[in-house]
Symmetry: C2
Subunit: 255 residues, 2 copies
């Protein structure tokens, strides 16, 4: 099933210090010394093929992961057997933090395309944190950011129409692509409509119709998974009500 490709040599050699994603997963400036201590424990794993698990729900928790390339979805199994996708994760984002509290992964992480990650063994990180408190503090900040993201997700799902949910998630992806220096207007969705619908609480038929309606309104151009945001301010207006340039996510920035 898995057919890991060989990573480009320079990709493997990349260190945290000169990682292009550094400002995403380590936004505050740690000292060089602190970053290189972190580097010593970080492991670069072989790329994961599309559909493969990075970890599974219920498995023991050993490490957190920073996405380097590709994209990862996390999903959890509901008691009735349904799967629920809890998030999509792009380069520079950290996954596995929800497992710290119980020592077991609460969700499964699955690659949506060939992806690579940095593995950060958690025990080693804690030991390191005892000597380098800034590192531990940085972890707390990253977790706080995740908390804000999750609250944003909950809001996305509360009393919003299908059009609003889709508009909001596309703008959210757009923002995250911009943060990585990519185009915020033209991008490729790495997930199926089924997965996106699952995340948004919408059935695939509704997803299809909603995409079409947004296209008919001239807000998007759609060609399969390629999305072009044709009218960003109208899309924002649709997603968040009355305030086009107000906070894209009421809980995401407020100051």
């Amino acid at each position: 099933m898995s057919l890991p490709r060989v990573a480009a040599v320079n990709e493997v050699r990349d260190s945290c210090r000169n990682c292009r994603l550094r400002e995403l997963c380590l936004p505050d400036s740690l000292s060089l010394a602190e970053v290189s201590k972190l580097e010593e424990i970080v492991q670069r794993r072989k790329p994961i093929a599309r559909g493969d698990y990075l970890f599974q729900s219920g498995h023991p928790f050993n490490a957190i992961y920073a996405v380097r390339t590709g994209s990862i979805k996390t999903s959890s199994l509901l008691a009735n057997g349904d799967e629920h996708i809890t998030g999509f994760h792009f380069p520079g984002e950290v996954i596995g933090l929800e497992a710290i509290t119980s020592d077991r992964h609460a969700c499964a992480a699955i690659a949506m395309e060939t992806s690579s990650v940095c593995e950060i063994p958690f025990h080693a990180l804690e030991v390191l944190g005892e000597k380098a408190p800034k590192l531990q503090q940085q972890l707390v900040r990253i977790m706080s950011r995740e908390l804000v993201t999750e609250q944003g997700t909950a809001q996305l799902l509360t009393r919003r129409s299908a059009e609003q949910r889709l508009a909001a998630i596309l703008l959210n992806f757009s923002e995250r692509f911009v943060r990585r220096g990519l185009s915020g207007n033209r991008f490729r969705l790495p997930m199926s409509r089924l997965d996106l619908g699952n995340y948004l609480g919408l059935v695939p038929e509704t997803m299809s119709r909603t995409f079409r309606r947004l296209e008919e309104q001239g807000l998007l151009d759609i060609a399969g998974k390629e999305i072009n945001i044709a009218d960003k301010s109208a899309l924002t207006e649709l997603a968040y009500g009355t305030a086009p340039e107000a906070t894209p996510n009421a809980c995401r920035r407020s100051g």
Copy 2:
């Protein structure tokens, strides 16, 4: 507007060391020395009257809070002017963590009844954490727990009927009351139906009808805000599908 009552003397004298809630906000066993260091920075605030703000959205972030008595709701203002309630918080639970990342509160915290909190100045906590890494590690664990809770909330709101949402939140409250040593079957909801509906993404009319339907089905007895869970296993079955004693929240415990 606010009319703070004088706290009972022994309530004020309570320290973290012998706090009845200790195992809730500090579940791992820190050493006595560590707990007493924490005690030195914790401040006990005057009780907050019903409807008063503990902090407001957009205000500078200075401290996190542990609820001691009463109950607190957190809410954020959406761009379109609507208010969205992001959570309900009971004694032993910690609030304000989402503000660490941005140095501003992303939500407002409002007392639902006369409540008291421990205020933990965050800067002092970080400084202390540099000397007592266990404390910092405990904070990370608490935040991880919050992350799991938030993911549970998102699941609650995704593709579940009004009956399932209400059943699930009542069971969730029940669990949290049990953790505090209270009855899990008979309790008083501190929030209005309007607030509960806001949190669940349901309109007050639907809340009212849904409560009635659950009562008609013999799952609950309702007298205003007093709730009696009459048939817990049927309620669980309703909330989570097929598995009465399986995981009450797919993402909350999985091992």
